[in-house]
Symmetry: C2
């Protein structure tokens, strides 16, 4: 039976005003943890702990958390597993309410010893009232508090909440989503979930007024019924995207060995999660696509799509990818086509019906913008996908960059007028030496509030999920009590 904390109790751990790190020696993980947290810029006092005392990175090292002069909201354990119980007891004495046990060596080892250590840890947490995050995890990422174990994570606070059983996957998601404009309210890597578990975390994010959307990477669930109840309540309030790690038999074994998780059968997960309004994805990058879509994509009125951009072959493949997911391509009316012909010039080799394949260089910026307005303003269309196959033209990077830069500026400008939703696709994997230039378009897109994707297939899949989500919500959101 898991303890259930109040929202306020958890919120103090999620946005701590003071922090201690146990196990800060001259080298090792405690030291590394400290340097990352300091570099990222924790906003309150940071207290390194080590029996030897002394100094670390110019900070006084305290032998024990009870030697710390001020209050401590959050403690990170980088001591070895056998030393963790005394740390918990000390924390209880100090009045610390939450300890992130970065320390590994528990049930994930698959040994009797590891399981026993974890059982003891849970018993101690219950007895002392100290909440344990982990063990075997990186704990809380909270830009508002200045708390991050990755010093290069984005510093701005956002409105996406993340729970992630794997610390590495959390780092990947924070960086990959960060590159596409996603900022987090809080993200929690929660490892073996021996005390604070996935269900309680979802309940926290359901209540959290700083979070508009929640994503979860979950390898196993301790109590399926409680978890599904929490998902149901969350999904009724906020978009909830979930990736199940260990969904194959072999993956289940790996998950057990990674975080000691008991993963459920795949088909059960699939049907239950969809039924109660969760959006299930299958890769970390699909998860980022959904964050981007919920954050930056206004809900299109339907699936009538105009594909617009450079490259005939890219256009054909994009049409295939979008069509396979139910998007339709209404032929542009004669007057819009006429305008297109005038803007593009009589020169052919371009697909001007819909999809629209234009040459890299097109007339004036004014003409280009007028065209976009005409297409978006036509009442036969619900959304526009602009694609930029940066390395799919004969030009070298600098010239391509100049040309596409002015195209992007036009797209961003007209999209900002809010006539209809616009998605941007930067075909990414062939960017090669043009990667830096291509990534400026991704940044330009999200800084202007537009969703940017790396392929048409991923854009289509994400927008399809957005549409299906809103269709479900319209026909009646899942009742939190049903």
């Amino acid at each position: 039976m898991t303890a259930v904390g109040s929202f306020e109790e958890l919120d103090r751990a999620m946005t701590p005003a003071s922090l201690a790190i146990a196990g800060v020696g001259q080298t090792g993980m405690g030291r590394l943890f400290l340097s990352r947290v300091v570099q990222y810029g924790f906003k309150g006092p940071v207290y390194p702990l080590h029996p030897a005392g002394g100094e670390a990175l110019g900070l006084k090292v305290y032998p024990n958390v009870n030697d710390v002069p001020g209050p401590v909201d959050y403690v990170v354990s980088c001591v070895s597993a056998p030393r963790v119980p005394q740390l918990i007891v000390d924390c209880a004495t100090k009045g610390v309410r939450a300890v992130c046990v970065f320390t590994a060596g528990y049930s994930e080892t698959g040994t009797a010893e590891g399981r026993q250590l974890e059982e003891d840890l849970v018993r101690l947490a219950r007895a002392t009232g100290v909440r344990v995050i982990g063990p075997n995890c990186m704990g809380v990422f909270c830009p508002k508090a200045g708390l991050s174990v990755a010093s290069d994570a984005p510093r701005e606070q956002g409105r996406v909440g993340l729970i992630c059983q794997s610390g590495g996957n959390a780092m990947y998601l924070i960086r990959a989503a960060g590159d596409r404009g996603i900022r987090f309210s809080k993200a929690v890597s929660y490892g073996n979930a021996c005390d604070l578990d996935e269900t309680e975390l979802l309940e926290y994010f359901t209540q959290d007024g700083e979070t508009d959307m929640v994503a979860a990477y979950v390898e196993g669930v301790k109590d399926g019924r409680r978890f599904l109840g929490a998902v149901k309540r969350l999904a009724a309030e906020k978009p909830f995207v979930v990736l199940k790690g260990g969904h194959t038999a072999a993956g289940t074994g790996a998950a057990a060995s990674h975080t000691g998780a008991l993963a459920g059968s795949d088909s059960v997960w699939d049907s239950l999660l969809e039924q109660i309004g969760a959006i299930r994805v299958h890769t970390l990058d699909e998860m980022v696509d959904m964050m981007v879509t919920f954050q930056f994509m206004p809900v299109p009125g339907g699936r009538r799509l105009v594909v617009f951009g450079v490259g005939g072959g890219a256009t054909v493949l994009t049409t295939d990818d979008c069509s396979a997911l139910g998007f339709t391509f209404p032929p542009l009316p004669a007057d819009v086509r006429q305008e297109l012909h005038e803007a593009v010039g009589g020169d052919a080799g371009n697909i001007l019906g819909n999809p629209v394949d234009i040459p890299p260089m097109v007339g004036t910026n004014e003409g280009y913008q007028r065209l976009l307005r005409r297409m978006l303003g036509w009442d036969g269309v619900d959304l526009l996908l602009y694609q930029l196959p940066f390395r799919g033209i004969m030009l070298k990077v600098p010239l391509a960059h100049m040309i596409f830069g002015s195209q992007m500026a036009n797209v961003v400008r007209v999209a900002g007028e809010g006539i209809k939703p616009v998605a941007v696709v930067i075909h990414y994997l062939a960017t090669g030496e043009g990667w830096r230039e291509a990534s400026t378009y991704v940044r330009q897109a999200w800084e202007s509030g537009l969703p940017a994707y790396y392929s048409a297939a991923s854009a289509a899949r994400a927008i399809d999920r957005l549409l299906r989500y809103h269709e479900r919500m319209r026909t009646g959101p899942p009742s939190p009590d049903g």
Copy 2:
């Protein structure tokens, strides 16, 4: 009825020793084409053509191809469509055997006028014996001849042949595959295929001694029976990978408008192509994955896989991805596990059975290499997948780069001993500012003869296709006459 050229005739067009470009004015596509070709470094003489004569990029401009002093193997038409017939006639007089009609404005426009122009062009080609590549295409890419319309394309000759109905997709493939170590014998963007078509090109590559593997991006096929016969003969000799553009109804429409192609029904393609030994892929990046796999991956003896690398969560997802495609994860024997424990240290948080999740920093290089040799040498395994989730750890780019650099060096060294096949996965999309560093691992992999992939899912899919290909070939390759 299409003319069928001899191998020698086509080979002269594919590896021209001399080149003329028609329509080289002071600006425009002819000028651009010329500058690209000169920058890339065409190995024979280049003759710009324009009625006004003069000079272009320091080269004498000839009013007519018949004014050129020496022989001309290959002519690129950048003149407008109405001027193309006279160019063809002039070429016939000159003895030019192949003209790449870059010019667009033909059947892809969907207009009666465009169709008429294309019919006239075919009739003229037949009457004069001049072979036409295109229209509406970029033509031949041949590193051996120094012929490329993209001056930044790789300069080395390789042994992969490519036919690509779309010029933009050809550029994308040449660059994306180039980043992963693929070099081409010849690649042909063949556009509307009014004369030289997909079938004849496949027959050329079947015979070409400089080509070991062939990839094709095809939007439509002029004569299905001839095409399937050519595929059958090709697939009996060399691996053949095909991507069908316009495989949905909407995509078919786009393809018609892009290259005037009449695309066939998807299900027919699928079953016929698989039956006769072709490997069908669904994206350009999957196509590159197959090139990489055929070029760099020795055929594993089976599907018994060891996954080895950093990151518990990455390992769980990789296991899911590989397991879903039929790969199995035999538990490492006790003695190998013992060696792993010794190398990694007693520290847990790592999955040491199989998949193997190791910490970023692992003991000595000698110990690391010994471990790899033990795993590869164990007779219960067929291949090893090493994964590097570069941005999935808490470290910043420079430190991660230092650590992973030494891991990669160990992997490359042991893989080079050829004990068992090794694949490298560089999780790519979250590389963000570490992109440049991550790409050095990709280069290091292929320069050492290892296949490098951007995700575990794409690696598993490609290696699965390789295995199925060889299973089919073992049970009897398709008879070229059957």
